[in-house]
Symmetry: C2
Subunit: 335 residues, 2 copies
DNA sequence: TTGTAGGCGTTATCAT
DNA sequence: ATGATAACGCCTACAA
């Protein structure tokens, strides 16, 4: 039986409201009584019950964070940013792992509202129409992460994936690569990775190269998966001179497949990634990739949520963080 | 203004107790009334408020999970197991990231109790004495993960780290390695990694090799860190013929440092890891490592917590899962 | 400045 | 089988 505000009140010889006032400093209390109450709190080790508090305040000090894969290192680093900023403001994290499944995402979104979370940070691979609808009219602060939403009415924090992919593809082309493969996520219009695809396309078009759909493959962001995709390239003898993987992990999967099949990187094939996770600059060959301020993406998203909770006006609801093309060892000029 | 049980009762023309009974099937309700209530619930989209429920039931359907580093892939996979099993039983996760800091760990533990979590899954690098005390007398179900506690009064789920490290070291020695370095976590007695150290020591002793403390280094489980440690070996010209890193990530950091300095793996130096994360079998050279059933560790821990919550008797409170020595490319017989 | 009392949404214990 | 009603622990008008 844990100690309650009532016990404190009794022990201090004051009313419940008074105790409430000193713990919340919501209204003035004579410093004499305050001291007395504080002392009792100290002695008894009393802690206000957050659940009861949530019930009456309709707040929970909880932020719901829904992600498609906790074991993805990119997501893990974003979570670090979210957690750390959240902690600064006294918010805790209710974690939801969806595996990118729409039903799960919807289920969790409902659950989170029921649990009175004060804000939601959302990340997914495929932003289905249903989700967009839901997120556009939800009545609690939401931030979409890693996805630009300038065309939607949902706040978001991400880099400019389109521009970044464009730069990367352009870089490869200007290094003499005429056959550039792209490994991105699934085909759907609303899938994360569409921006990358469009950036890739733009670069190709600008350089008068036609898009060979045979070279655009759809992965699931896993190492193992891109390994298999590259194996297909090899088996089908359509191996390009450069492979642009939409994540570093997929790039590494690709490189290993190439190595296992007797190809050299970057001598035979250039392989570039996206995200710049820590492994990218340690892996051998070091990955040419797009640097994202991963931690910051999470941090900024959380800060945005906190601001909204506090009713502070936030200027732009679509925040685009800077990215950078990191040219390292896994790509080569073949001109 | 969300709809409450009261609204449903009124709309269905029954008492709130009746509504409560149909949503919980706690007591018989005439099927006629049940249908009526169900219909109103359907129409109104009523969802019981979990917070109010928590308050009266003193339960929250929440499991607190505290980990030292979310972005660590090993931990990420454990979280997958925890989450998935938790979801099966209707439990959600309150995630706490501590960076392994004792103050944070203690703070979170208190917070979790206050939030009425029904169970706690705990993981840390250093199991400080204070934590042991706290965990031994906490009044809610706890499971320590990735750490054998046969000498403590805390339930746990892990592999036999001692035996695994022993096998690995023995394997290296029997492959002709007389100078085997160990990169493990910090020096403290209670640090995770002590079991590995002891296993390592036993193997050396059994083979009449003396322990050269110069070859035992203390890392922080990060890639970058073990890279630096190996650099020290090289600079100090005490490079051994084999390096046993206490995690795959550290092994990869070690290998990359060797490669960057002109050494070949495993020709010049054998490097082995621990955990068998996915990357281990994709990385080149494939890592010789200890396979842990990572996902299962999380899953079993969660199942254990659920059982305890339900008051089911669980046999052994210290669960040891099987491990396996995976011999791959990063190690070599030099006899 | 302090205390009283009502209410937050549910569950559970009584009667009926 | 059903319905009042008292908790659960806390906050907050409203009174004093």
């Amino acid at each position: 039986m844990s100690i309650t505000i009532k016990d404190v009140a009794k022990k201090a010889g004051v009313s419940i409201s008074t105790v409430s006032r000193v713990i919340n400093s919501s209204k003035p209390v004579s410093s004499e009584i305050r001291q007395k109450v504080l002392k009792v709190i100290e002695e008894t080790g009393y802690r206000p019950n957050p659940v009861a508090r949530s019930l009456v305040m309709k707040k929970s000090q909880l932020i719901g964070v829904v992600v498609p894969d906790i074991s993805n290192v990119f997501i893990g680093e974003i979570l670090n940013g979210i957690e750390e900023i959240g902690k600064m403001y006294g918010y805790d994290i209710l974690l939801c792992n969806t595996y990118g499944d729409l039903e799960e995402e919807l289920r969790y979104l409902n659950l989170l509202r029921a649990k009175q979370v004060e804000g939601i940070i959302f990340m997914t691979w495929k932003l289905e129409e249903k989700l967009v609808e839901y997120l556009e009219k939800i009545d609690i602060p939401v931030a979409l992460v890693n996805r630009n939403t300038s065309n939607l009415h949902i706040p978001s924090v991400s880099i400019d994936n389109f521009e970044a992919a464009y730069e990367m593809t352009k870089f490869l082309i200007e290094n003499g690569h005429k056959k550039v493969a792209l490994i991105r996520s699934s085909l759907d219009q609303n899938a994360f990775g569409l921006d990358q695809y469009n950036g890739y396309k733009k670069a190709l078009e600008e350089h008068g190269l036609e898009i060979n759909e045979e070279l655009v493959k759809y992965g699931n962001w896993k190492l193992e998966n891109s390994y298999e995709i590259v194996k297909e390239f090899i088996d089908e003898k359509v191996l390009p001179t450069a492979i642009f993987a939409a994540s570093d992990e997929m790039a590494i999967g690709a490189i290993n497949c190439l190595l296992d099949n007797g190809y050299k990187v970057p001598e035979d094939v250039s392989v570039v990634g996206f995200n710049d996770i820590k492994l990218a600059s340690i892996y051998r060959p070091n990955l040419t990739t797009i640097h994202q301020p991963i931690y910051d993406i999470g941090a900024v998203a959380m800060r945005m949520i906190v601001k909204k909770i506090n009713g502070e006006e936030i200027g732009n609801h679509v925040i685009t963080l800077p990215h950078e093309l990191m040219i390292r060892e896994s790509s080569k000029n073949i001109e």
